[in-house]
Amino acid sequence: MMTSRRRFLQRGLAGSALLFQPFLLNRVLHGAEPGDNKKLLFIFQRGGNDGLNTVIPRGDSEYNATTRPTLYIAPGVGLDLGNNFAELHPALAPMMSLYHSERLTGVPGPGNLAVIHRVGYANQSRSHFDSQSYWEKGVPRDASVRDGVFYRQLAQSMDLDAPDNAFVAAAISSSQIEALQGAHAIPNFRRSEDFAVLGDDGGKFLGELPSVDAPVGKGVRGLYTSPGSLPNSRYAQLVKQTGQSMTNTLGTLEEAVAQGAYTPANGAIYPDSSFGEKLQEAAMLMKRTPVRVVGCNLSGFDTHSGQGSAQGDHPELLADIASGFQALYLDLQDQWDDLIIVTMTEFGRTSRENGAQGTDHAEASTMFVAGGGVKGGTYNCDATTWADGDIFSKRGRYLARRTDFRAVFGEIFTKHFGNSTALLDTIMPGYSLAADDIPGDFETLGIL
């Protein structure tokens, strides 16, 4: 984002004065724009999740004990998704409470969980790092795009320099998640409680922000806010923005933590894992701060060896996700209609098991989308969308995609956040070109 210096100074100074009153940060955002109160929690499954052992295509006879000698989940062990074709991995059992939620239909059945199979993109990269980056930028193979896709969604809908928006998004992560990376530094942190400087004179050391009376701040804040304090270096803006975001975040989190120990609502129990802690942290922030987009990672999906079938490493990761979804569903009932939870992963894994009881990098995989407005059900995994043997439909090795991940994001951006369709080309550059190119990949699934 390019801002003239004059404009920056005006905004910076006005903003600084407001920041002296941190309670303003907690003000509910008012406005006529659609989607103003809409929230998003995204979970990146790092390493490439094995979609075939997540949402099992029972109706495909090639999914069997020969193609997957140790990974194969036998009939009756998977969880029936009700379409006579697809099953969830048994470790995902806690997901079923969302899948069968009665909220929308009034009867048991597809509820608030969309189970989407065969998601990927054309000319799929099987490099972890490239493919993660493509998902997170919302654009495959375009090095000119540097901002994250969720960052751009936010930057399109609001002025990220405005002090009210200083904590509109956050990553629960020790390093920044690329999907939230942008010119304006979005906060990232491991735990709210630990986010503080050392010692008893933190007040002096951290210092004050500049005000109209004293246009240069003090202490750490002074070093990172005063207009002329930065070295004349490349990345000076990045360092400054990060410093400001850090000092703002210190204030916001201190207030959130000061509200006392967090007790999840409705008896929700988060998984006893570091991932569970992150999700609980996300829920706490959704309730106590103005945050609207939260991201976190779950790594370990690169299961080249010793993947595990019904039990083992991969099932434990799936169980973490499923119990997490269940806890969020209970805990965030008060904002369930405004919330979307979405999972993503850079690619799926080879349909045939390798020699180390694992799987290698492949193409399409699965996504879960949950939330009050989600039309639950199973997408792209039923007898009409899946021919027998489709698990080898790409090069005889991989499951071919049916849906581009940007189509799923697009539905979320337009129907949940209320962006115009025209804006999708800004949020995900090249969106309409890609959609014109392969219309089938971009057909709306209708999950919202």
Partner: protein, 1063 residues
């Protein structure tokens, strides 16, 4: 345009002169009262101002200010001002203004004696007698321009002064400047310093203490002079024993006798002193043990290993050798220990190293004598559990563990004179990243270790051994990268490919001919050599994975460890333990009874499984008879179960055998080939099971599905000697029994082929769990795909690997590709660009290089680096490339331009190491590695194979920045968590940093190269003039202690400054 005035405001009402605020670019140097009671205010004024005025106000809110002192400023120069105000009176505040006009405002005191003006000749104390004045560090009127969209048009000036150049150089090829390093470069000259770093001639000087990192005795090789649990003579210290009680000749036959440990109260004593506490108690226990030494020259690394509580003194032949927690020469029997102490609570024995052994120990008889003191009569316990041993020194560097390895990396980075080599060592370690934890997991699941870990008694010891072996693998790899950091990239690549930790990390150890694993093949192309999608395809990955089939690891005895490159090019092909001959004791053949697992063979009343069927007394008359192997469909079965598939999942088999009394019991093993899982029983007791049946119950039910295992893998080996207590000798009979399970009812095969044999092993064999060996590369020809492979087809670099390279030659399939990579354009592009990213600038990538869209200076630099890569008979010499990148002779390339200078954000390790170096701090423990993790970097523990980012933005985020700031606080406060000790007083004295200004200037010169902006300087000065309540409180008025504290905290703030984030 210059501003018309600047401010200092001083509150006189509070304490006659409190600094409130400053505006750039004015620096306040002094504010206080003279002995006459005059107010004195000092200030620094930069160029461009022509008058200065000191104003005062009794009611600043009113906006009314009175000019008290004013005077002109001469043209052209920066000035140091000193105002003196003879009548500060009742004014609440004073302020200083300066202006650009030559017209001096009217003031109460116009006499020039009240305003002294002194020219500041060189605001940056740069000794460089550069005739050209420093370029304006900030020529752009906008002090913080937005990132420039045109990469060729850079706002940064190039480093010009010597200060700038040295600072820049040390920020890049070293872990930042220290004062000493700065002076060293200044003395040597920049070109000579670079030269000394590129071709280090001196031995690697180091002040590091080897025992902080490396074991000085080989674990598992101990020779015990006194075993744990030996019998001791002891004397209850109700009175003082004779003076010579600890001498060799003392007659202790009337002392009591007991097995150690001796003590009471904590339940761990073999000899319990139940009379020690209480009314008739005693404080001290005396104990003696005689032992023999046959050969004094064999005694190396003599140690007393002890669990003790609360204190002790130990004597060898009457001379003290060790003590803890008791004071005084020959403490008396009624002396208490120095409070509660010892190591009994954590149950970990402590080793006391005995130096100068020759002075104490004699050949023949010796005596170890120990007096153990309690903390008091009311003490709840006393412990004494000694052993006395020696062990050989390792003939190689044996790392103590992961924490020590991580500490070593920091310490070398901070202290080594060979800075460039250490920076590159860490760079290559990160480039070829591996994960210690994956290695630990792999060893834990390795069959022989798995078997040992199942034994509760030795589980902890085995776990420690596994951890130290994993750390050793990581260390071996790191040490190679360090020692060859400036050598040939081809060596690094081949070493990494054959390094045990990499073979485990990216699953090449499980890359089998029938089921190739693509993981390593993909990443060597994507991450280690070519760069992502850089002239290779998915088909190349699959072909390369086939080349790598059969690559694995083994353990070797030290003397069989091959040096590199023979280690890779002429690898071991045999497994750790290669059986060359098997003398059968109970071979495959008849005599077995078996039962098809259509139901439990011996259910209890509840239909639950029991092991009755495996007991000697079980009646197996109704079972079928057969010969081993038993199974179907893999062609190796004497008894074929043609009806098994689809009908039953398990088979039970048993056989009687006799064991002659003279059987070579110590060498006999039960060797089991199986598919897919088994549990083995001897006389009804389980003696082993396959990993594929772990945690499936005892006994597993008949319909339990096994995990997968193929019979062509190496057989499981169970030592009969480990189950000696179950064995019966002839004429009694033993019963060997198995249950064998399939993965599914529909599985394609099943096998059971057990034999009792006496194996003879090949020379150079070693048990894989033997701690005396080291892990190395092994090429297993039996698992190598012999077919033809084609890579990089339709390119000038096409490689066709002919079919049929059998035996050891099969290793050349992959090595041929690795060797060819060095000459491939993708490798030189990728590696040279990554080096440029690390040392010069983030602003070029393989993509922008190939598109020629990167800044011109960087394109030219990469071109030159690639040309350097190609020089010489063997491409890829890193030192040659680095010399071109650093351009020591001309200092005129991109490295020395604005595109590089101060243009990178420090990574985590760069920040931490540079902070410790800046403060001359001393590393005292292994906590720095935890702080590195806080900052986002766990060296040796990264899960993803891409390594940590070498570019700046990846390191600049809110959590990372906060952790940097906290680290500066911890380091300056001397907290142990910082990993380092820092003595602020000696630091400040060493460099005469007696004021905030001097400290700031020190940092500005050595670490910011004079680029500290005035706003930042003002914030820092303000900080020094502020109290804990954030109220103004002038530095000059503070007592010594508070001044020191403020300097200390100011140091932390300097480390927190944006300027210190850059390199």
């Amino acid at each position: 345009m210059k501003h018309s005035f600047l401010l200092i405001m001083c509150s006189l009402a509070v304490s006659k002169g409190i600094l409130l605020a400053q505006e750039p670019p004015l620096g306040v140097t002094e504010i206080g009262l003279t002995s006459e009671g005059y107010l004195r205010v000092g200030a620094l004024v930069p160029e461009g101002y022509r008058h200065a005025v000191l104003e005062a106000s009794s009611a600043p809110a009113s906006g009314l200010w009175e000019a008290m002192v004013a005077g002109p400023l001469p043209e052209d120069g920066a000035w140091r001002l000193q105002f003196t105000l003879p009548d500060p009176g009742a004014f609440a505040l004073v302020r200083v203004r300066v202006g650009a006009s030559t017209e001096v405002p009217l003031a109460k005191h116009a006499d020039e004696r009240w305003l002294e003006v002194e020219r500041i000749n060189d605001p940056k104390p740069d000794p460089d007698p550069d005739p050209n004045p420093d370029p304006d560090p900030n020529p752009d009127p906008d002090p913080h321009p937005d990132p420039d969209p045109d990469p060729d048009n850079h706002p940064n000036p190039a480093p010009q002064t010597e200060t700038e150049k040295i600072g820049h150089l040390l920020n890049r090829i070293a872990y930042g400047p220290s004062k000493a390093a700065f002076d060293q470069v200044q003395e040597m000259g920049i070109a000579s310093y670079i030269d000394s770093q590129l071709t280090p001639r001196e031995p690697a000087q180091t002040t590091l203490k080897a025992t902080d990192y490396f074991l000085d005795a080989v674990p598992g090789e101990e020779t015990f002079l006194i075993e744990d649990g030996s019998v001791w003579q002891y004397f209850k210290g109700r009175e003082e024993p004779p003076n010579d009680w600890n001498a060799l000749g003392f007659a202790d036959i009337f002392w009591e006798t007991g097995r150690a440990g001796i003590g009471y109260g904590d339940g761990d004593d073999r000899t319990v002193l139940d009379d020690m506490a209480g009314d008739d108690g005693y404080l001290t226990l005396y104990a003696r043990h005689r032992f023999q030494v046959a050969d004094l020259t064999a005694v190396e690394n003599l140690r007393l290993r002890l669990i003790y509580d609360d204190g002790f003194v130990a004597y060898l032949n009457g001379r003290e050798i060790a003590r803890a927690n008791v004071t005084g020469v020959r403490p008396r029997h009624d002396q208490m220990a120095d409070g509660a102490g010892g190591n009994v609570d954590n149950d970990l024995p402590m080793d006391f190293v005995i130096l100068d052994v020759d002075d104490y120990l004699v050949e023949g008889e010796n005596v170890l004598a120990v007096q153990i003191h309690n903390a008091g009569f009311g003490s709840s316990d006393l412990s004494f559990a000694p052993s006395f041993y020696h062990a050989p020194s390792p003939s190689y560097e044996a790392i103590r563990g992961l924490p020590e390895l991580q500490r070593l990396v920091h310490d070398q980075g901070i202290y080594s004179e060979r800075q460039l080599q250490m920076v590159l060592a860490d760079f290559w370690e990160n480039h070829f990243t591996t994960d210690y934890h994956k290695v630990v997991d792999y060893l834990e699941e390795l069959g022989p270790y798995e078997q040992l870990l199942g034994n509760d008694v030795i589980e902890d010891q085995i776990e420690r051994q596994i951890e130290s072996e994993a750390a050793q693998m990581e260390f071996q790899e790191y040490a190679f990268f360090r020692d060859h950091a400036l050598g040939y990239f081809g060596d690094l690549l081949l070493y990494s490919a054959t390094s045990p930790s990499m073979l485990i990390y990216l699953d090449n150890v499980t890359n089998l001919k029938e089921q190739p694993n693509e993981n390593y093949a993909r990443e060597i192309l994507e991450l280690y050599a070519f760069g992502v999608d850089n002239r290779y395809t998915q088909s190349d990955i699959e072909e390369l994975a086939r080349c790598f089939t059969g690559w694995t690891i083994r353990k070797v005895p030290l003397e069989y460890l091959k040096p590199f490159p023979e280690w890779a090019r002429e690898p071991h092909t045999a497994p750790s333990l290669e059986v060359v001959e098997e003398i059968p004791y109970l071979d495959l053949g008849p005599g077995w009874r078996y039962f098809k697992g259509t139901r439990e063979p011996s259910p209890d009343g509840e239909e639950a499984p029991t092991t009755a069927w495996a007991q000697p007394g079980f009646n197996d008359a109704f079972w079928e008879s057969g010969a081993t192997g038993i199974g179907y469909d893999d062609g190796d079965d004497a008894t074929v179960l043609s009806d098994m598939r689809g009908n039953y999942l398990s088979v039970y088999a048993r056989r009687q055998f006799t064991l002659e009394a003279d059987a070579p019991l110590q060498d006999l093993v039960l060797s089991v080939r199986y598919d897919d899982g088994y549990v083995a029983y001897l006389n009804g007791e389980e003696i082993g099971r396959s990993y594929s049946m772990r945690n499936y119950g005892s006994p597993p039910p008949f319909d339990r599905e096994s995990r997968n295992h193929e019979a062509d893998n190496e057989p499981d080996v169970i030592r009969l000697a480990d189950h000696q207590h179950l064995l019966r000798f002839a004429p009694e009979q033993n019963v060997l029994a198995f249950q064998v399970h399939n993965t599914t009812l529909n599985s394609s095969d099943l096998s059971l082929a057990p034999r009792i044999i006496e194996p003879r092993y090949a020379e150079g064999s070693i048990d894989p769990t033997d701690s005396a060996g080291l892990w190395t590369f092994r090429f297993n020809p039996d698992e190598h795909d012999l077919g033809e492979k084609r890579l990089f087809e339709d390119s000038p670099h096409e490689i066709v690997i002919p079919a049929g390279r059998t035996g050891q030659a099969g290793v050349n399939d992959a090595i041929q590709v690795i060797d060819a990579m060095i000459g491939h354009p993708s490798t030189r592009e990728f590696v040279v660009i990554k080096l440029v990213n690390k040392f010069v600038s983030d602003e070029i990538s393989v993509e922008s290089y190939q598109e020629r869209s990167a800044p011109t200076a960087l394109l030219e630099l990469v071109d030159a680096g690639i040309a350097a890569w190609q020089t010489g008979p063997r491409p890829g010499h890193i030192g040659t490339v680095m010399r071109v990148l650093l351009d020591p002779d001309n200092q005129a390339n991109a490295f020395w331009s604005g595109i590089a200078y101060r243009s990178k954000v420090k990574s985590a390790v760069e920040y931490l190491n540079s902070a410790v170096r800046a403060l001359d701090a001393e590393i005292i423990n292994d906590r720095l590695r935890d702080r590195n993790e806080d900052l986002g970097m766990q060296i040796f523990e990264r899960e993803d194979p891409d390594g940590f980012p070498e570019d700046g933005p990846g390191w600049m985020n809110t959590q990372g920045l906060l952790e940097r700031i906290k680290y500066g606080q911890a380091l300056t406060r001397g907290l142990a968590r910082s990993g380092a000790a820092w003595d602020p007083q000696s630091f400040f004295q060493r460099y005469q940093l007696t004021s905030p200004e001097a400290l700031i200037e020190h940092f500005n010169r050595y670490f910011f190269q004079g680029h500290l902006q005035e706003d930042a300087r003002r914030v820092l000065i303000d900080f020094a003039n502020t109290d804990d309540e954030c109220l103004p409180s002038p530095w000059g008025f503070q007592g010594v202690a508070e001044q020191r504290r403020r300097l200390r905290d100011l140091t932390a703030l300097l480390l927190a400054a944006p300027d210190f984030q850059f390199q």
